[in-house]
Each structure stands twice: as structure tokens, then as C-alpha cells.
């Protein structure tokens, strides 16, 4: 899905000059982008604009040919089920549910993956043994990996990862990057990762400085 960004600026803070704010550019299908910035420059705000959680900006964001400002709540609900997936910086797992329940909560919306596939993905990130542990008992790094698997349990054309590997060691980052790349290719999707500086050895189409 092609995303066209036209001259957007947040209304609730004044960002420094960057390659994202107040610029016109496109994010293309089958491509990988890195949004690189120091904290506080508005990475999460940009993701929230793209995910429809925040509309306090001027300018336009266009998915294919439709401006997202025109989407109704139901449009957003179906987009979030079928087209656009996210790993929030704050992960947003439900602490009282187990890792697997958290993932299934997302997966049951579309039944995108079987339980075996989910467990295989967890195994790839070395957290399969934690599948039946409550999310609140997991370390932040383990929770990050569960949240990544959850984000992959739906069909998507856009995958937004907001500092997804911040608490994961190098080996697991490699595993996670492989898993994510594989899914992105399968879905022919646009991958957008936000990071403070690390590039995670991914071959990006473009790196945008924010």
C-alpha cells in the first residue's frame, strides 16, 4: 500500500526541521524504511498519525488515493485488522493474560495463523517456553518479542515497529529481524521501523532522519 505524506506537522508541539515534518514524500509497497531520531522528536506521534490514534496535525496522509482524515471509525477498525499492524513502543500487552492469550486476542480477529505457527514464531524468538506465562511475569525484552509475534498475526500491508528491539540482545534481534523480514515479504508490505540510532542490519529502501 502506497503512503503519500504531504507536508504534515503536529499541532501540539513544534518539531525541529527534519526529513519527515513539513516534507512531501512517499512510502512504497515492498519497501523498508527507518525513521531515525533522538527521543522526543515525535517518532511515536508520527506512528500514531499513521495508525489513526491521533489526528492533531496539519497536512495530509494518503493511503493509496484516500486521505486518512476521511476514514470512519469502522474503516480504521478494518484497516487495523487487515492492512496495518503495529508494535507500540509501550508494547500494550495485557498483563493478566498469558503470552499466547495476548497473541490469540489479536489472531482470533482474522484467524491469520494457526496455534502451531504462532508457537513456531515464538520458538524462533526463543520465547516459546513462556507461551503460557502471564505477560506481567515476563521481562521487557521477552514482552517485546511477544508483541512482535502478535503484530505478525494478521494480514498487513503496513507494519509499524516503534523501537521494537530496544531491550533485546543481538542474537535475538537477528532472529526477530529475520522473522519480520520474512513476514513483510510474504505480505508484500511496507515496513517502517522507528529507532534511536540502531539500524539492526536491515537493508532499508530509505532512512529518514526525524
Amino acid at each position: 500500500m502506497q503512503i503519500t505524506i504531504q507536508n504534515i506537522t503536529p499541532n501540539f508541539f513544534t518539531p525541529a526541521s527534519s526529513e519527515v515534518w513539513s516534507k512531501n514524500f512517499e512510502l512504497l509497497p515492498n519497501s523498508k524504511y527507518l525513521i531515525k531520531a533522538v527521543s522526543g522528536s515525535g517518532k511515536s506521534s508520527f506512528f500514531n498519525f499513521l495508525y489513526g490514534l491521533n489526528n492533531r496535525y496539519s497536512g495530509s496522509i494518503i493511503f493509496e488515493k484516500t486521505t486518512i482524515a476521511s476514514f470512519s471509525e469502522n474503516d480504521w477498525t478494518s484497516l487495523r485488522r487487515e492492512k496495518i499492524s503495529i508494535v507500540f513502543q509501550g508494547l500494550r500487552l495485557f498483563p493478566e493474560l498469558t503470552a499466547l492469550e495476548n497473541i490469540q486476542l489479536k489472531n482470533t480477529l482474522t484467524n491469520h495463523k494457526s496455534e502451531t505457527e504462532i508457537l513456531a514464531m515464538l520458538a524462533q524468538l526463543d520465547v516459546d517456553q513462556l507461551a503460557h506465562k502471564k505477560a506481567e511475569t515476563l521481562s521487557y525484552g521477552q514482552q517485546q518479542r511477544v508483541a512482535i509475534v502478535r503484530a505478525l498475526c494478521q494480514p498487513f500491508k503496513i507494519l509499524l515497529l516503534d523501537e521494537p528491539f530496544s531491550h533485546i540482545d543481538q542474537t535475538q534481534i537477528t532472529n526477530a529481524v529475520n522473522l519480520v523480514s520474512q513476514e513483510v515479504e510474504q505480505n508484500k508490505a511496507t515496513l517502517i521501523i522507528a529507532s534511536l540510532g540502531d539500524t539492526y542490519n536491515i537493508n532499508y529502501t530509505k532512512i529518514l532522519l526525524l
Binding site: G52, T77, G90, E101, K106, D162
Partner: protein, 397 residues
Amino acid sequence: MIDILLKKQVDKSQLLFFALSSSLGLAILLIVIQLFIDTRPVFSSENDLLGNQNLIIYKDLGRDNAFTTDEIEELKQQPFINKTGGFTHGTYRVLASVTLPNYTGISTEMFLEAVGDEFIDIKSDDWKWQPGDREVPIIIPKNYINLYNFGYAASTGMPQINEKIIRQIPIDLKLTGSSKTELYPAYILDASEKINSILVPESFLSYTNKTLSPLKESKISRIILDVINPSDPKLLQFLASKKYNYLSNDVQNSKLSYVLKLILSIVLGIGLLITFLSIYLVITNINLLILKNKQTITQLHFLGYSKAQIAKVYHTIAYKILAISIVVALVLSVISKIIISPYLALLHVEKTMTSIIYLVVISIVLFILLALYYRNHTNSKIQQMLRPNTSLLTTEN
């Protein structure tokens, strides 16, 4: 899955409180409605305790104290008078004699009157007479029986009687008119608490008046009024201006009925107030429940759950609790009916199941109305919570 999550987050004690306040409010409402339905007959004109909506009026004593046709017409036209009925009396002398086995017979002079059947508090199929009938039914005032039992019978050694035995006592009426004398066998049909006179069916009186004293005119000297409220000042003023007399007893009964109605209305008012407060409490409870789950609700929505899917879980909880509380309230009101019914029986209210049928219907209507209200309320609260820019996530930047 969403059910499991939300159920884990719902506080059981909060739900219990929700159910309790809801049950209490609904139970009070149903009990008061039931009380209103059950006590209605007490106030209706069928009941002689409080429903005495009749007033008997008469003129000052004197030779010419009969009511003229014009005066009766004028009474009929007053807005506070529903119906009027004249007491007609026999135009002949009456000698009644009773012969009891083993006792010397007693006989007394007396009189006979008649009034429209709709004013008599005794409904009986035997209350009729036509020429050729064997016996004439008579209605006497209830206090006559008391006078007899505790006065006459006690002092003379005669047997005491009640309303059932009295029917079996044969009475011979000797009617002496201006042109002839006739004998009629009669019996006492019943005793009236309302009308203080010796009554025979109207058909008997007009027949005997015609045959025994064809030349004498029957006059109306007392009138019974069917009124909306016997203590209505307008009515009393009108009667005073016409110098018509009435028994103050009737007016006092009406005041009693007014006070009871007032008390019942206050009880209903308080009941409604408590019910509204409990509904408010339930709404506050729903708000609290949704607010406590704010984070869950927004996160679920961002995962791709629709508002309807999320709201459904809360609707189900609210419907279940509402259904349980309505059933509890219904059971409580039936129990209260059982407890109250002996007291109502004292007021001569017949036991009926009508109020329970009403209550079931009202409960169903209440369930539907409240369910719709809670549903709309929950939807609007969740809607408010999920508006863009209000979410917890927009704080990340």
C-alpha cells in the same frame, strides 16, 4: 478471548453491589405499584369502608319536607354529584310480626322504604320482587341486629341471631292502606352498613302503594347522592346554601379515605425517588466499570476490535444483572404481597392475582426500557473513550 480478558478485569464485589442496588430499587418500585393496585378496591365505591361516596340528605323537620321535582333536577345538574336517588316510602301502615317456636310472638309497627338498587351495598340475586312472588326480601340496617342481640334479646331472654340465621325467620307483614289491607310473608335478606332504613325492592313498594292507597301520593323526603368526594367544600357549601342536612359520618369517612390516599401517594413518591436513585447508582456503577477498564477498552480497540464487539461484553454483564435483579424484585414483591394480604383482608379487599400479572408485565417493560437505556449509556461512554486524541497512547511521542 475478549470475554476472558474483560471478565478477569471485572470486580465481582462491584457487580454484586450493582445487582443489590438494582434489585433494591426495582423491588421497592414493584412493591409500591402492587400496593397501589391491591388497595384500589378500598377506595372504589364498591367498598363501604372507605369508598363510601354516598351522602344522604334531608330537609329540616316539619310538615312539608319532601323534595320537589325541580329540587331533584337541580341536584342532578351539579357537577360534583354523579347520581341522585330518592327514598320513596310506603303510603300505608305496616305491622310486622315474628313468631319463633317456643317463644311468644312479637310484633311491631314499622315502615318500609325503597331506593335505587345502585345505591344499596348488598348485591344479591334474591333482591327482587314481582306480584305473585311468595316472599318479600327486606334489608335492615346492621345496627338493628346489634340492638336486638345486645339490647332486646339480652334483656328478654330471646335467642341471639346473626345475618345467616336471620334469613330463616319468617316475618308476616300486615299492610293497611287507605283502601284495603293485605298480608305478605317476608324475610330479612341481609343487613346493610350503609343505608340506615328498612328497605324493600322498589317494585314491591310501588306495587303496594298503588294497590293499597291508590289515592295517596308517595313523596321523596330523603335523597341519596352519589358524589365524587363527599368532603368536597363546593358540595358542602351547596348543601348548606339549600339548607339540606346530611350525616357528618359520611363526610368523615371520606376524609379518612383522602388521608389514606395521600399517604399512599407519598409512599409511591418515595418509592419512585429510591428507584431513580438506584438507577442512578447503577449508571454510576457502569461508568466506574468502564472507566476502570479504560486502558483495556482502548487497547482492544487499537488491536482491531470494533466498538460493538467491546460494548457487547458490557451489555451482556448489564443485561444479566438486570435480569437477575428484576427476578429478585419480582420475588420480593410477591413475598410482600403474601405478607401484606392479611392486612388488606381486614379492609375487605378480596385476594386477587391481578396485581401479580400486572407486575410481571411491568417487569418485562422495565427490563426492556432499562436494558435499552443501559445499552445506550454504555455505547456513548465507550464512544467517548475511543475518540481519537483521547487515548492513553497519544501521550507517547
